[in-house]
Symmetry: C2
Subunit: 571 residues, 2 copies
């Protein structure tokens, strides 16, 4: 069904949600549109089964929903679930030049639809994505290795809320400039009157480069920020996490078509495992002259290359890379709460979140707690004990830990004693293997702890992605805060947290976080965790340290994706 | 006088102007705070004399107002007025490392003052600059070669309005994120309550690289956008146009000091004429690791280098370079108005504005006018005649033309027949020399016209800065619009304009301008000129074509100069 004015029918349908979302973004109060509970009461009695069935149906088959993309005729795809089984999905390979041409041909109508129609169409895409949250949860689980409930939440509603946030932010920015004004300059005689029309135009083709661990959550902000500001988007998923973005792209294309726009506004460029010694597809696409915007999540190597090469070539590059997420422990009036909270943060998805804590600074003089003074060694022991206890029930633990995502992580996780020795640290807690009851091939590990002295800087000043954290003995809390400032300024961090009962220490920690350019969580002892951020309220990343050059979602993340073209004339 | 809370006293003083400025920015209606008339009735009976006296006093002397900057002990300065006389001003050479350290030490207090205090202090700086508009006019005139009234207007009030616009835009962006919120997430039991504090922090040290032709107008937006968002600023003026920015810096430093802040928040790094084969100071400063933001106006060579090298190194780089400003002539019902308007646009400052028209597309089939059909040749002749007539009264003409700014421009302006021959064009109007009645050494030229065929693309597809324009014979208006689209997409443009009585042609021109990413002026036949933009209403540049990667002043120009750091805790 195509309306006379494409997308117009959706304007009214989604006016209310856009109003609520833009309000939430302005106040930063609690707001969530998409329920995070996978419960049948929320998503329907049959939703879970249907989602799983849809996922199973996609396996060992050609992904036909994208068969209408311009293709080379070949098929690609080599996904293997971190839980064991190969996915067997075969994706039609995109003909890049034909896809670029199709995207450019699709641009004018999308541009001319205007910000509000685009926002409404984007909301409709997100609504349709939401209805397939269970299917996406299975796809995210079996590409990222996340446990199921997390796959559902982070891969589904939380990602959808972030998508809506990006759409709302983009709408606000585009509507800040009026469509038209009558400008009247006083003179001695008649005033000079001009009509000035302001037209929002997109930058051009946008590229979203997905990651392995959060295929949807980390791709949606860039995808929807670019699309909502009028740019056609080419999605280049991680070779090991194609399916969640393939489903996403197919939904987006259907909604666009249904609303009267060109499907080519969203296209997926899948690839198989990269061939040793050959550039991956992301590099080729990033340097394509038609590509004007790039969103990237992943390792700092390729991220740095993008910033230098694509950024230096005048493309807008938004990166989220890696860093040294830091916890400063000074004192607490709730030791159990502290330990439980940290144990969860380490364990969730086996530390494979870009926001998971890695470096825990503990003063040599010990930690004052509601259970008395603990020496550095005692605190480390209690922390190790908390991690062990938290993961004692193995059938429950796997539902938090998930599976290790790739060989790199597995290599670190399976020889922590060797790692500790190489780094000159002390093994405080080895990474305990757990056999997954359903997926015996999955490599599941309870997080390990390595103790190091603050003087051993090299040991803890690089990211150690996965289930390994460091308990670093510092001179005192002042030294801990100096290290936070210094390591984050140099190497970046997505998160920082502090535990102290002393208001002066907390204030000093806020100063250190502001200097280092990292968000700070204080005294988390309950059900809020340093590695989780809430859309519409918490920024994800700050763009103020080397871990990421942008934040989800502030004005800077959206305002440069479009430009304003004025035409003026006398009236 | 230092208040207990630095800058607090200025909050109330400037609340009203900030309110008016932010409102104007939102509506884009006419607004100007600083009167553009140099009249004694506006600026005071003695203002003109005092301004000139202050300028004369600065000549042939050490510039003592900046003597308190960290210096090397040496003095630099080699300014020579385009009107003839050397200025003889000697500037204390900045000790860069000491200056960077001083700027960094000054940052925390400025950051912690918050957006509104910073905005108020910035307004106070602009107010003080405004009071010295006559002095600045003399300084701008004798560094840029602009005629006096233009030096006053563009170098004074218009630049000050652009400065205020940047401050207002920066304030709006910084205040979009609340200082604090109580976030309340519903759960089955008690809601989870957190307090989240959002703190605006600057990027770091900002560098403003000034240009020769508009030392204040082009430097103020970046200077005030960076300063208002909390960044200390290092100003690197063009070696031939130091004085206007030296005066500016000294005023800013005094106001900052008076308000209780550190003078080191604004510092001037003057240099003399660059030594052949040695990097200029701008290059050194741009690559200094402490520099996080760069604003640049000038040639595309160094601008491109900055985008690649400094941009690739992760610094924010805002450039305004050069382009092919385009006029499409189709038809008119006011030939005299059209010719007079274009003659003024070509003549003003001898075409040495980055916004001055250069390429005039005229259909081979001729132009339909209220004086009948004109062939291409007839139109070209009328245009040449209009330029000649406009500059007939030489004593009046010099007050529009000003002086040629540098040897490059002079070389082109003094051998237009040779230039026409080299380019394979036809000399339609040579650049007539005028002797300036007061400054006989000034090289003053009435703009020249060269006719070329559209097929001779190389002739007109590079910027020919100064008093030379091209009248390009195209197949028809459709071809003219295609050339506009194509040349601007490839080479950039700061401005475009169209003359047509046909609404369809105007609509097609708007489409072409949107595709090319350039602002369009339609049928200007009165006292608004394509090369002039009004602060708060017209964007200067679009950032959507190669001529400039940013616009004065949209959200994208300010929103990334600061970051937001959250701290959150349970309540």
């Amino acid at each position: 069904m195509t309306e006379t004015a494409p997308g117009a029918a959706l304007l009214e349908t989604h006016a209310e949600v856009l109003e609520a979302a833009t309000n939430a973004l302005a106040t930063r109060e609690y707001y969530s549109r998409y329920p995070e509970s996978p419960s049948p009461r929320v998503y329907g009695e049959t939703a879970a089964q249907e989602g799983q069935a849809a996922f199973e149906q996609a396996r060992n088959a050609t992904f036909t929903p994208l068969a209408d993309q311009p293709g080379t005729g070949a098929e690609v795809g080599s996904e293997v679930s971190p839980y064991g089984p190969p996915l067997g999905v075969r994706y039609p390979e995109l003909d890049v030049d034909a896809a670029v041409a199709a995207a450019q041909a699709a641009l004018p109508a999308w541009r001319d639809a205007g910000p509000r129609v685009r926002a409404a169409v984007c909301v409709e895409i997100i609504e349709q994505i939401n209805r397939r949250s269970h299917e996406l949860a299975n796809a995210v689980m079996h590409t990222s290795g996340q446990p199921f409930v997390m796959s559902f939440q982070a891969g589904g509603p939380h990602a959808q809320d972030r998508a809506l946030e990006a759409v709302a932010a983009a709408l606000v920015e585009q509507e800040r400039v009026p469509a038209s004004v009558t400008w009247e300059k006083p003179t001695k005689g008649e005033p000079i009157r001009m009509q000035k029309d302001y037209r929002v135009v997109p930058r051009g083709l946008a590229l979203v480069i997905g990651c392995n661990t959060f295929p949807t959550w980390n791709a949606y902000p860039g995808l929807f920020a670019s699309l909502a500001t009028g740019n056609p988007v080419l999605i280049k998923p991680h070779p090991r996490a194609v399916l969640p973005l393939a489903i996403t792209a197919s939904i987006a294309r259907d909604v666009l078509d249904h609303a009267g726009f060109d499907r080519a506004l969203v296209q997926l460029a899948a690839e198989g495992e990269p061939v040793e010694g050959r550039d991956g597809l992301a590099k080729t696409l990033a340097l394509h002259p038609a590509v004007r915007i790039i969103d990237y999540t992943g390792g700092p190597g390729f991220g740095g290359w993008l910033e230098r090469e694509a950024g230096g070539a005048g493309k807008l590059v938004y990166t989220e890379k890696a860093g040294l997420n830091t916890v400063v422990v000074d004192s607490t009036d709730n030791l159990e709460g502290l330990l439980g909270n940290l144990a969860f943060s380490f364990s969730l998805y086996s530390g494979q979140m870009c926001t998971a804590p890695q470096n825990v600074y503990v003063p040599a003089g010990g930690v004052s707690t509601d259970e008395g003074e603990l020496t550095y060694a005692q605190f480390a022991e209690r922390l190790a004990g908390a991690i062990t206890a938290f993961n004692a029930d193995e059938s429950r633990a796997v539902e938090i830990l998930g599976a290790t995502v790739n060989p790199d992580v597995r290599a670190r996780a399976t020889d922590v004693p060797g790692l500790a020795q190489r780094l000159g640290g002390e093994l405080l807690l080895d990474a305990r293997p757990i056999t997954h009851p359903t997926y015996p091939d999955a490599v599941v590990r309870v997080p390990a702890l390595i103790g190091v002295d603050a003087a051993n800087t090299p040991a803890y000043s690089q990211e150690c992605f996965g289930p390994v954290a460091f308990v670093i003995r510092t001179e005192d809390t002042g030294a801990s805060l100096r290290l936070l400032r210094q390591t984050v300024q140099e190497h970046g961090a997505m998160t920082a947290s502090v535990y102290s009962t002393d208001e002066e220490v907390l204030e000093a920690a806020r100063e250190a976080a502001a200097d280092a350019g990292v968000a700070l969580s204080e005294n988390l002892t309950g059900q809020i965790f340093v590695n989780q951020t809430a859309a519409f309220s918490d920024f994800h990343g700050t763009g103020a340290n080397p871990a990421a050059n942008a934040a989800y979602t502030d004005a800077a993340f959206v305002a440069n994706r479009f430009r304003v073209i004025t035409s003026r004339r006398h009236v």
